[in-house]
Each structure stands twice: as C-alpha cells, then as structure tokens.
C-alpha cells in the first residue's frame, strides 16, 4: 500500500462538486467580491486621480468623470522641474535587487544550518535572529549616520544595501528555515550516502527543491527594501536618493499636488505590484508549506 503522500495534490481547494452551485455559496462568493472591491477602491481612486488635472483632483464631490490627462505623469517625469525620476528608480532597483541577492546568499546557508543539518542550539539562534528584527532601527540610526559620515559613505548606495540586508535577513532566515524544513530527509540521506559535500548538497540538491521558498523569500525582501523610507531619507543625498524619498518631494505646502502625487505613487508602486502579481502563486505555494516530492 503506497503512502498517500505522493498522491496528494499540491494546491488544495475546497472540492465539493455537489454543493458548488448552491445559493449559499454564490452569496459568499458575492460577499468576497464586495470585500475585494472595497479594498481596491483606494487604489482605483489613486490611479484615477493620477489621470486628472490638479483642479479636477481636488474637487468635492469627487469628479469621477473628469477628462483624463497625462498632466500628473508629465509632471512626475520631469516636465515641471526638469528632473527625471529614472535615476531615482534606478537607485531603488539597484539597492533592492542587490540587497535581496545578498540576503539570499547569507540566509540560505544559515537556514540550512538551522533546519537540515541543524546546529545544537538552533531554536536559540533563530530566536536571536528574530529578536534583532524586533528592535526599532531608528534607535541605531545615529551611530550609523556618524559612521557613514566618518567613512565617507553618505549618499552611497552601498550603505543602503548593507542596511537593507540587515533589515531583511532575520525574516529571510526564518522563512527559508520553514521551507527547508520541508525537504524530505530521505533525499539528504541519499546525498550523504553518495558522498556529497555540504556545499554540493546545498547547491545541487536542496536548492532546486526549495525554489518556491527561495522565490517567496526573495519577493518579500525585494518588497521591503523597495519600500524603505527612513534610512533612505537620512543617509542619501543627491546621488543615492531612492524612489520613496523622491515621492515625498512632490508634497508641497504651497499649491495643489494630489494628481502629481498619485501619478508618482502609481509609478513608484508598479515594480512591486508587478513582482507581487507575477509571483503570487509562488508566494502562496511557498507559504503553504506544500508537499514536496
């Protein structure tokens, strides 16, 4: 009698074909739609406002049917100020991607050492990792600023990368450990019997299995790095300014700005939204600790 493990489907849905079309189900489906719409309204409003003129964006009641214009986007892309946002977007991409890669390089072996071939006090180590995440980073901002100043590393993407890596490492280790804990021990044992070394096992055997987990972790790290505001605000200047900081510069105390800010918000959020949509399956799959063959 074979075990049921190999036969279990990966994604589990509620399979009750007999009751699929009952009214109760339809009603609940409708409820889900209503809730979904409520949650998406602010985003829709943001996108709509970004295509209105400043005057139309600030009316009460809201002018939904106002003529659409690219004015806000043109302002964002430099028509009003002569500054293009591309360098700032490039800064954000560089910092986020590089720090994510660095996090993966550090977190994967660490998670390996906490799950597959665990060190003795692995839960204490895990607790330590997580406890560093609980400390408000603001408290360490001053020493970091002073250090960066003395080391001539202000306005330097490198220091942002280091900080973002630190910021995301605990969560990455935590997540990866959960994913790696799902790797069937039989495979590891087989590799060990075949005489594979640690690095080989990590790279060629475990990593391919853990790809959904790695992808989910990478996505989370990318999102949090991209979104980060405080450190970027304090530690960057003219060269390393990132997209979220650039976004705040559109809020002025003199004059209307809602359409501009919405346009800026849309553009700055697009990379994260696209990444999130593209990888949402991996995210759910990775998080579901689904069965792995």
């Amino acid at each position: 009698m074979t075990t049921a493990v190999a036969q279990r489907p990966v994604a589990v849905t509620d399979t009750r074909p007999r009751r699929k079309w009952r009214a109760g189900n339809a009603l609940l489906g409708l409820l889900a739609w209503v809730i979904g719409v409520i949650f998406i309204i602010p985003v829709l409003w943001m996108v709509l406002t970004s295509f209105h003129s400043e005057a139309d964006a600030s009316t009460n009641p809201p002018s939904i049917a106002a003529p659409l214009t690219l004015q806000g986007y043109r302002q964002f892309f430099g028509q009003g100020t002569g500054t293009s946002p591309w360098p700032y977007l490039a800064n954000s991409i560089t910092a986020s991607v590089t720090s994510t890669i660095l996090v993966l390089l550090l977190a994967f072996p660490a998670a390996y050492a906490l799950s597959i071939r665990p060190v003795r006090k692995w839960s204490d180590v895990l607790f330590f990792f997580l406890s560093t995440k609980m400390l408000p980073l603001v408290a360490g901002l001053l020493p970091i600023y002073l250090f960066a100043q003395k080391a001539h590393m202000l306005d330097n993407l490198f220091i942002l990368i280091i900080l973002y890596t630190t910021m995301n490492l605990p969560i990455a280790v935590w997540m990866m450990r959960s994913f790696l804990a799902e790797v069937p021990i039989a495979i590891i044992e087989a590799a060990a019997i075949d005489g594979a070394g640690v690095l080989y096992t990590m790279r060629k055997i475990v990593a391919p299995i853990a790809v959904p987990g790695i992808a989910a972790t990478a996505l989370i790290c990318f999102i949090f790095s991209w979104n980060e505001l405080l450190f970027a605000l304090v530690l960057t200047g003219v060269q390393a300014q990132t997209a979220p900081v650039f976004l705040t510069s559109f809020v002025t105390s003199q004059g209307l700005f809602l359409a501009k800010v919405c346009a800026a918000a849309v553009v700055v959020s697009i990379p994260v939204v696209v990444a999130g949509f593209a990888a949402q399956d991996k995210l759910v799959q990775g998080l579901s600790l689904g069965a792995v063959k």
């Binding site: 009641p61 809201p62 390089l105 665990p118 692995w122 980073l137 021990i185 590891i188 800010v261 918000a265």
Partner: protein, 325 residues
C-alpha cells in the same frame, strides 16, 4: 484492504522529518569538526548580523550617557543617568509607548480577523476567485509611503478627500448639506489604524489562505463522511490546524507594525497623540537634535522590546518546537 488513509499513516515521514531534526544524516554531531561543519553555513549571516546590529547598539548605549545636543555643541559632556531620568519622567514618551502598544494590538488583531474571514471566503470556489485574490493582494503591494500619502491627501482630507466627497455626493442625491467631518482631527488614531489595517490585511490573508489550503483533504473528507457539521469541522479541524498559521501571521505582523514609521510620519506627523515609538525617537534625533536623550530612548525601547520578544517567542514557541501540521 483498508482504503481509508488515517492520519497516522499520512504523518510518519513528516513526523520523522520534524521531530528528529538532530537525527539528520550521520546522527547527531559528535566530533568538534562535525559541529563546526554544521555551524559554518550559519556563520556568515550570524557574523554579519551581529556586526551591523550590535555595534551600533553599543555606540547608542555610550551616547545615551552623554549630554549631546547637536544644536548647542558647546554643552557636550557627561550626563550620567540624566537622560534616562528624562526618559522615565517624560509624559510624551509614556503616551508614545501606550499608543505603540494600542496601535500594534489593534492593527494586528483586526487585520488577522479580517484576513481570516477573507481567506475563508476565498477558500471556496466561486466565479472569478483568482481575480478577487489578486485584487486583495494589491493593498499590500502599494509602497507604504505612497499609501499613506494617498490616504492622507486623497481620502481623509476634509476638503477634497474621497470620504467627504462621497458623503457630499450621497447627500446631494437627497438634497441637504453633507456632514464633512475632519477625520484626521477627530479620529487621528483610528485613521492611522485604518490605513495600516488596509495595508496589512492582505498579508495576513495570504498566510492564512496558505494555511487553509494546506489542510489535508482526506481528513476533511473523512470528517464530512462521519457527519460533522461545517461549524464542527471549523472548530475541531480547521482552527487547530490554523493555529500555527495564526501565530505566524500574528508574530510577523506584530514585528512589522511595531516598527511602522511611514504612516505616522506622513499622516499626522505624530500630532494629536499619534506619535509611536519609532516616530518619537526620530523626532528627538532629528527635530530636537538631542542625541543623548534619543539614544537613551533607543536603549530603553530596545530593552523593552527584548523583554516583550522573549515573552512572545516563548509563548509562541510552538512554532519552533512542536511543528505539528
């Protein structure tokens, strides 16, 4: 031949995988070389983290004993415990701590409950389920500072925000002047909480949905065959299974929301009692420029967080030790 697959038969490999962690290939590490072999992959991350987090903390600790205000450089000197005295007697810091706790608890609990409800809804099949799931993820994917700006200026604004605008539109349909409450002045704390709940519910929902979808269908089927009602199945099978996921989501949510900065910074600039700890420390650093005081605040907060973290993680240590599905 038994066709019914019982729990125990499905479990074995998982159980062995989890509970026998130290019985990995080759048995528990015996020689020193083997022990270091296991530690080696851990070291880069550990060393990196120690250097980048502990060193600044040590410097913060040192500065907390100094009297250092950047705006009056001539008054620099040793302050002993003065800064700490100020920290514990400052009513502003006390209210900041209270609000941080209230904010975190409210946002985590509400978004957890909402996330669970939505996950339960999304667990069923219905027309356009994938679309709704995609829609529901979106709020989490909007850059937090962008979302905060959107809410502050586009939604909460008393003159032209979406809420008051909608009220005007509705009242116009019936004639009469709409109430135009000043949301940010009347209910500043609630407004910040709403924005955060909006942004974090999708996160909770994702984790809980993953939990729901990892339920064993065989077990569910068996229970149904045995005549269990939906409510009984929910209480006796789903909830216990979900406990791990609820704890995970709650823990992660708490960690992130405890440190939230963007929303307070953008929406109220800490005014009307809405300053939370990260914002208060930021204020002391960058507005008051009292580096000594801010460092003392930082140290106190770190110590407090460690105490809370120890308690929380020990309570939630089910995640670390039991790991039953």
């Amino acid at each position: 031949m038994a066709t019914q697959v019982t729990d125990a038969e499905v479990r074995p490999s998982r159980g062995r995988r989890r509970a026998d962690r130290s019985a990995a290939p080759g048995g528990p590490p015996t020689t020193s070389r083997e022990r270091w072999g296991r530690r080696a992959p851990l070291l880069p991350a550990l060393v990196f983290l120690i250097i980048v987090t502990q060193l600044p903390f040590v410097v913060t600790l040192v500065i907390s004993f100094l009297r250092w205000n950047a705006l009056s450089p001539q008054t620099r000197g040793w302050a002993g415990l003065d800064n700490y005295k100020k920290v514990f007697t400052d009513p502003a810091l006390r209210s900041s701590v209270i609000f941080t706790i209230v904010l975190t608890a409210t946002v985590v609990i509400v978004s957890l409950l909402l996330g669970l409800a939505i996950a339960l809804l999304l667990d069923r099949a219905f027309l356009g389920r994938g679309v709704v799931r995609t829609i529901m993820i979106t709020p989490f994917l909007i850059v937090p500072v962008a979302a905060a700006l959107l809410f502050k200026h586009g939604i909460y604004n008393a003159s032209y925000g979406l809420i008051n605008g909608t009220l005007t539109w509705i009242w116009d349909l019936f004639g009469g002047t709409a109430p135009q409450p000043d949301w940010l002045t009347e209910y500043p704390k609630i407004m910040i909480e709403v924005q955060l709940i909006w942004q974090w519910t999708p996160f909770m929902m994702l984790i809980l949905l993953a939990g729901l979808q990892s339920r064993d269908p065989e077990v569910m089927e068996a229970a149904r065959v045995d005549g269990a009602s939906t409510w009984q199945m929910f209480t006796y099978i789903t909830l216990p299974h979900m406990r791990q996921y609820l704890e995970l989501a709650g823990l992660l949510g708490t960690i992130f929301i405890l440190q939230t900065f963007d929303a307070v910074y953008v929406i109220t600039s800490g005014g009307l009692g809405t300053a939370n700890l990260p914002y208060t420390i930021y204020q002391t650093f960058f507005s008051a420029h009292d580096y000594g005081l801010a460092s003392a605040q930082g140290v106190v907060v770190v110590v407090g967080s460690l105490i809370v973290a120890t308690l929380a993680l020990r309570t939630v240590s089910g995640l670390l030790r039991e790991e039953k599905t």
